[in-house]
Symmetry: C2
Subunit: 464 residues, 2 copies
């Protein structure tokens, strides 16, 4: 039999990795809650109709379908196998949220601030850093069209990432309908507006010449492309760029421009980083109807500093998360017309960078103390001593079975356990061994808990 | 369009319910960690071969299969649709654990104590209290065949349930191979041994006469059934019952009896409840190879006390969780021959009982304080004040948009937020309003955090 493994694109989590992931989830959750967002959850799967044609873009094509069962499947196969599935696993948390709000709106606050932390599934081609099951950590505000919502969502996202240790973030801000108007203003034909978004979004990865070539080959008039790229390459502060865009789009874009100006004005000083207008920021999803934003950091993955900028002089960036306003989605799912805006942290990328940079703080120990078991006769005493020391506030690993003490200590050290005691029913005192120094200290049984706790470098478990 | 909903048998979680579920998970996790169990995780789905024929019993039939995609699906349909799926969602945490250990054994401690808290999926007929997606909270010890493992697993399970507030638990203990030998000793034919387990397991729900009738109708000789039921109905302490069983099974059962005697002897005094030998306890799963156990409480769901006992005088019970030894499973999945033993808390039933009995302790508030926004002009100040008060240690909900203050206060009270301040850029002091009493207190901005924290009845969030 070949060695079994997780399915391709799926991951097992070993204890140390699991602990760091739990720490990251917990730190994000705490920031979300500090802003008054409330946790909630939806099922892993939804009826297929919930996902179909709801603006999930490419992700909709990547849904994992759940096979019908029993009689339903037999009927589907009789009909030629066209409707083998009526449910699919969620590919994001936004479309299920819209369905949830449509289902439960009478039970929820008029302005609903929610967070959701959980797995989503996409049948993407497995590749480095891309998985078929991954975490998403979303915040959303439903029920308000005030630009305060954008400001608050940007603030909570920035706060979470800064508290995780990302002190070099920038937030790019744009408006999805404004982008459409701007692209059209260069004479890009309606049929190629989407292609233009996608091409120009690559400008921190490829050169201007490459983007021009790509679009011209697709049939976009070269003058339109050059005019757009010229505009793109000109620099300026957010306010000046907003004025530049206003000159091009005129009245058609005024309300969107005012919205962005308000968001820029009212967003309080971010804990780190800066909020900048980026007239070509697109974000991929079709359900966005207003402002969109993403949080980026400089891409330091190339040690050669020169490689961090493209030929055009742009700084390469990595995206840590993004979001925007999706006012129409809930209505399209059969709910009321409700304004909505949210943000999703790219958990897996954030996790990978934090691992690379050593940004985790959680203790690595499986327990505070090992109760070693010298013989089978000591079993009952060892288990009772373990219970007693737990009642003194320690996390205690009782070795399950008698083995050589050296082997028990070695296993404990491998699990990061700093202290050990030997279960000896006859001893008057407890000898606590510090495993790293091999020093023993004799203590009364009732003193062990406080003595060990005083010597623990950091509290066990997740947290900061 | 009809009102959208979660698929049949699946659940949405509203914020208050989500918070209580999170609290329950967290309290279980803390007890598991206090025993030195390490968290880990496996994917939601596994290759189909992992699940098939691995002793999952009925659950294997209830697997949700994931549909093949693209070319794979097209090929499967050409062949007549017989292999439409090559993955399925996990129906428990035990079979995936065996696969995980087979995959990663070189990276794991020789004795691996793990916990896993997460969803599993079963296409069961939806009914009250039974769901198609539900939580399981498992602990397992891999790599030791010592009866200390059973003792520790029983202890951690009992400790978790007692710390949740279940002070009336009993733990029933048996041995799966011993049960087989015992049932055969009454002359039950080999072909009906399983039917006999299942029938006798119902004795706290139905009468002895019903069980007799069921088995006789299935073709079991009436003398064998009566002899077994007579034995079952005789009472006695664990030690006496072990001796009774030993007289019937003789040498064939001696090693299993000794194992149970050891477990009974070394398990330290449980924090509440008692550990008793129950010679007819079966547990449903075929992968158990040694001791099995379950934690029960008296079923208080019937207010009429007489209804709590069956005709035979047995106390009706509810099972809160169960487990046992499954030594063969990892080898059957292509791994080494490794002894293993674990326990799973029946999260959904425990949750339902705790809700019914009011056993949750978490605060119900979405935030500590609301920043109310009197006008659009106050937006920036309100958001900045929110950040400042968060830095003072409060969870702060800034109202997203200007509205009548009364409406903002009402929404806050509905979300359980106890205090509010009005964002007024011109005010020299901050007036903190206690929403329940409508009393205002003027404070310096820097004092608000400590003042509010002193008045909070219980800390926000999960925990005890």
């Amino acid at each position: 039999m070949p060695k079994p493994s997780a399915p391709s694109g799926f991951r097992d989590f070993l204890p140390e990795q699991f602990r760091r992931r739990s720490e990251l989830v917990e730190r994000i959750r705490r920031v979300y809650e500090s802003f008054g967002f409330q946790g909630m959850d939806t099922p892993a799967m939804e009826n297929l109709a919930v996902f179909q044609g709801k603006g999930g873009g490419e992700n909709e094509k990547l849904m994992f379908h759940v096979l019908k069962r029993g009689a339903d499947l037999a009927r589907a196969l009789e009909k030629g196998g066209t409707e083998l599935s009526d449910m699919a696993l969620r590919f994001d948390h936004t479309v299920p949220l819209a369905r949830y709000f449509a289902t439960h709106r009478t039970e929820l606050p008029a302005v609903f601030k929610r967070y959701q932390l959980g797995s989503v599934w996409r049948a993407d081609r497995p590749q480095r850093g891309r998985f078929r099951e991954f975490m998403q950590c979303d915040v959303d505000v439903l029920g308000s069209s005030s630009p305060m919502v954008e400001a608050e969502v940007i603030l909570v996202a920035a706060t979470a990432l800064v508290q995780l240790g990302f002190s070099d973030i920038s937030i790019r801000l744009n408006s999805r309908p404004l982008l459409g108007a701007l692209v059209r203003s260069f004479g890009i034909p309606e049929s190629h507006v989407n292609a233009a978004y996608i091409a120009i979004d690559k400008l921190d990865k490829v050169s201007t010449a490459d983007v021009e070539k790509e679009l011209v080959e697709k049939g976009v008039p070269v003058e339109a492309v050059r005019s757009m790229l010229d505009f793109e390459s000109s620099q300026g502060a957010s306010e000046a760029r907003l004025d530049d865009v206003e000159k091009r789009v005129g009245d058609a874009g005024r309300s969107f421009l005012d919205q962005l100006r308000t968001v820029l004005a009212i967003t309080p000083a971010l804990p780190a980083g800066r909020l900048v207008f980026d007239p070509f920021l697109a974000r991929g999803l079709d359900y966005y109807t207003g402002p969109v934003f993403e949080v980026v950091i400089p891409d330091a993955s190339k040690p050669d500093e020169a490689a961090q900028t493209t030929q055009g002089g742009r700084t390469r960036t990595m995206t840590l998360g993004g979001g925007g306003r999706f006012d129409g989605l809930i209505e399209r799912l059969g709910g009321p017309s409700v304004p909505a805006c949210g943000f999703s942290i790219g958990f897996e990328r954030v996790f990978a960078i934090m691992e690379e940079r050593g940004m985790f703080v959680a203790s690595q120990r499986a327990a505070d103390l090992l109760v070693a078991v010298p013989s089978a006769e000591a079993a009952e005493f060892a288990l009772a001593l373990g219970s007693d020391l737990r009642a003194q506030g320690l996390a205690v690993d009782v070795f399950p079975g008698a083995a050589k003490l050296g082997a028990q200590y070695e296993l404990a050290e491998r699990k990061g356990i700093p202290f050990a005691v030997v279960a000896d029913p006859k001893a008057a005192e407890i000898s606590v061994r510090e495993l790293s120094t091999r020093q023993n200290t004799a203590l009364r049984r009732s003193e062990v808990g406080s003595w060990v706790r005083e010597r623990l470098v950091s509290p066990k478990g997740t947290g900061d």
